[in-house]
């Protein structure tokens, strides 16, 4: 099966074939790798030194930096998250982070996730106590006064046991903002009532809420509650970094309600930076390996290993976990390993489910015709090989054959493993070569400019057969599979309209909509790997 892209959207090739009578303008062979919708991270507090909750002068460039850097983790859309902060911070920061489509500049911003300050004191976790709030009589106005205008806000996390929370939840829901329950000591009844008012998400399940109890499951019980509105799917975020949740707990949640599981990173500014002390909003945190805690007292004089090594919480600093520094692709791999679920489930948890949570499943988290062409190319162990947004390759790593220029002015180059390809033009174009073409390239790269069809090795087999490298080599060697990029550069780019890119893949992992899942008759069938 091939993925066809045009104008930043996924194209129905049958229409192109019979109506427009055209073939692909460019093909890309991805060598039997897995093609999946791009990951969506709905809870990320910052990264690479950028803290979204800091009211700096230039919040935009911080968001842009994170947006660019998370591409290599396979994230194509995200919700920058603000932790509990004083109102001044919200008033300064929120207007500076507008909703923005992804593109050569980085992953798309789907809207802000405001986690707090309307949360429980006992379960505040790493949120600073001083800035917690509760709702006064005029609850929604109070919220507006705290946050400011809500145009850029997509998700709000609050504790439903706070007074007047229901009118707030209802008001937020009518405004199209997703309400999430978290950092709360609510029991199951209160949580169910909140869902009836409109809540649809649970912020990092198990963390910052009452533990599951067999006579009062608390918020965790929502996963299997039978008192929810009919047809409503409750989604829940899980931080699958190996620290926030014991793998056994992860498995329990996954088995209880697999369709609602949303993988989140809850990444903090220390993501991508190494060990040491970093900030998170008004707090300081300590990073050690893949774990981050609220920075507390000096370490135990007997040394960090004086505590029993088996308990991950008894290390230096405090025992309060403070966000995570596991990138999204690490979370996906860990989730896959811990639950033993299928690859499709793991990838869906990072792409389709967050899209469904935000009501974007027609355009994100899917490879259906008409959806945005945001996808990732993964190898068999789910390491990200390349990330595409609107059909433009924006990040690629690992395999040198996949190296593509990162400059936004660069078009997609024709990539083939050069050892197999006999033709001299099957090499990636160097940045210097492209720079001279200048504005022509930009026209070509614009979202309106091209259909890009990526071709994978047609020998990726379904049903668990291993792809044969010999056959793949034969295919790549036969020629006629890829058009030369020098061909492109010699063309008058401005005259090129609506170029097509064809991705050949037999290993596309996504869920076709109900009604299209006809065996042998799908346009883009869902297959087991």
């Amino acid at each position: 099966e091939d993925l066809w892209v045009r104008g930043g959207r996924i194209l129905d090739p049958e229409k192109l074939f019979f109506e427009e009578r055209r073939v692909a303008d460019e093909r890309r062979d991805c060598g039997g790798r897995i093609l999946a919708p791009g990951f969506i991270d709905v809870q990320i507090n910052g990264g690479f030194g950028v803290d979204f909750s800091q009211a700096t002068e230039d919040v935009g460039s911080g968001v842009a930096l994170v947006a660019r850097r998370i591409l290599s983790h396979g994230v194509t859309s995200f919700c920058p998250t603000l932790v509990t902060s004083p109102p001044e911070v919200y008033h300064k920061v929120v207007p500076q982070i507008p909703v923005k489509s992804g593109g050569p500049h980085g992953a798309g911003v789907l809207g802000l996730h405001l986690e707090g300050p309307f949360i429980s004191r006992e379960k505040r976790g790493a949120h600073p106590e001083a800035h917690l709030r509760s709702f006064e009589a005029n609850a929604f106005q109070d919220l507006l006064a705290t946050y400011g205008p809500l145009d850029n806000v997509r998700i709000v996390t609050l504790a439903p046991e706070l007074g007047h929370s229901h009118e707030v939840i209802r008001e937020l829901t009518t405004r199209g903002i997703c309400v999430s329950l978290g950092h709360s000591v609510a029991d199951l009844r209160a949580a169910e009532d909140a869902v009836w008012s409109g809540a649809t998400f649970i912020t990092h399940l198990f963390n910052a809420m009452l533990p599951f109890h067999h006579r009062d499951p608390g918020i965790v019980g929502l996963l299997t509650s039978d008192r929810l509105p009919a047809g409503r799917c409750i989604f829940y975020g899980m931080i699958a970094d190996g620290t926030h949740t014991n793998p056994a707990a992860l498995r329990i949640a996954h088995r209880a309600h697999p369709q609602g599981l949303v993988l989140v990173t809850d990444a903090i500014p220390a993501l991508g930076l190494g060990n040491g002390r970093h900030t998170l909003g008004q707090q300081e945190v300590e990073v050690d390996g893949l774990t981050a805690y609220v920075a507390g007292e000096p370490p135990d004089p007997l040394g960090p290993r004086s505590q029993p090594a088996s308990c991950p919480l008894c290390s230096q600093g405090t025992k309060t976990l403070s966000g995570s520094i596991a990138p999204m692709d690490v979370c996906v791999r860990h989730f896959l390993r811990a639950t033993g679920c299928s690859v499709e489930s793991a990838l869906e948890a990072a792409s389709l489910h967050p899209a469904q949570l935000l009501g974007l499943e027609k355009s994100k988290g899917t490879l259906d015709f008409g959806a945005d062409a945001d996808f990732v190319v993964l190898d068999d162990s789910l390491h990200v090989q390349a990330t595409y947004i609107s059909g433009l390759v924006l990040a690629s790593c690992g395999d040198p054959a996949w190296e593509a220029p990162m400059c936004p002015a660069h078009p997609i180059s024709v990539i083939l493993p050069s050892s197999v390809s006999p033709w001299p033009w099957h090499t990636p174009i160097l940045p210097e070569q492209i720079a001279t073409v200048g504005s022509d390239i930009r026209d070509w790269c614009s979202p309106r400019s091209g259909v890009v069809v990526l071709t994978f090795s047609p020998f990726g087999f379904w049903g668990g057969w291993p792809p044969s490298p010999l056959l793949m080599g034969a295919v790549l060697g036969t020629g006629g599979m890829c058009l030369a990029l020098p061909l492109f550069s010699s063309l008058c780019c401005k005259a090129q309209l609506r170029k097509c890119l064809q991705v050949q893949s037999d290993r596309m992992v996504w869920a076709p909509p109900v009604g299209r899942e006809q065996p042998g008759k799908n346009h883009l069938p869902r297959r087991a790997l």
Binding site: E14, F17, F18, E20
Partner: protein, 274 residues
């Protein structure tokens, strides 16, 4: 007539695919000289298509200079309906090979003037220089394409109303709902297929056995329209064992000669590597 009898469906499909492949390669098509191929739909040629795709992927065959003409298409069915023959050809053949869309021709069942569409199709075939090899299947009632029993044996491309047998047979593709099955179709005529320089008919399965018997052991009869090909100078019938169940033992023995005889004794001018 050559009757090629193979043991199983898969072997029959492979034989047919190899035959097509070798004919294309021998023809040596180029930008000035396209190989025109007539193609069928249905479950019988699926194996053949899969094999052709395999040959393409192995690099043995290219469809770059091949023009295809499909036999038929339903009337009134949207082109992107999963059961339309456009969808069938796309999903089972065209999307896997390197044929250019401009070189594929399928009748348009949603044309405003259906007869004009049929006439235009005939013109396109003529403009392409006639069909080199027309591959077809057979219905349980002995029809070729949608030339139902009673069709003229010299007919051209036209609109046909489908026989009840055909509608019943097709109901399984439309959720078993007879009301959803199209009742009319555009089809090439028997005469159109007879004009091809070579014809290959694929017949597999026991349910086609009686039709095969009527087609080759009885006379030419418009009630079994495939029998018209008894009068074609170059026809190949490819079938599996099950399809020969209604034939005389004598007929089967005559055509099922040992492989060496097949290679040398038959009127093949080339060795097809069987």
């Amino acid at each position: 007539m050559k009757l090629i009898i193979l043991d199983h469906y898969s072997q029959a499909s492979e034989w047919a695919a190899k035959y097509i492949r070798n004919r294309i390669i021998q023809f040596n098509p180029g930008p000035e000289k396209y190989f025109t191929l007539g193609l069928p739909t249905g479950s019988t040629p699926l194996g053949c298509y899969k094999k052709l795709i395999e040959y393409y992927k192995n690099g043995d065959l290219s469809f770059k200079y091949v023009k295809t003409f499909n036999m038929d298409e339903y009337v009134g069915l949207p082109r992107d309906h999963p059961e339309s023959y456009h969808s069938f050809m796309w999903n089972n053949f065209f999307k896997h090979i390197d044929i250019h869309p401009e070189n594929t021709h399928i009748l348009d069942g949603n044309a405003v003037d259906l007869q004009a569409e049929c006439d235009a199709f005939e013109e396109k075939i003529k403009a392409a220089g006639g069909i080199e090899l027309f591959v077809g299947g057979i219905g349980p009632d002995g029809h070729i394409a949608f030339n139902e029993p009673g069709s003229s044996l010299v007919s051209r491309t036209r609109v046909k109303t489908l026989a009840m047998d055909t509608i019943l047979a097709n109901a399984r593709f439309f959720d078993g709902e007879l009301t959803k099955v199209p009742t009319m179709a555009l089809t090439v005529g028997v005469g159109t297929v007879m004009d091809a320089r070579e014809v290959m008919i694929l017949i597999t399965g026991a349910h086609k056995a009686f039709a095969l018997y009527k087609a080759i052991e009885e006379g030419v009869n418009h009630m079994w329209t495939v029998s018209a090909f008894q009068q074609h100078p170059c026809t190949v019938f490819v079938c599996d064992e099950d399809a020969t169940l209604e034939l005389k033992v004598k007929t089967v023995k005559y055509f099922k000669a040992p492989p060496q005889v097949n290679r040398k004794g038959c009127i093949y001018s080339t060795n097809f590597g069987m």
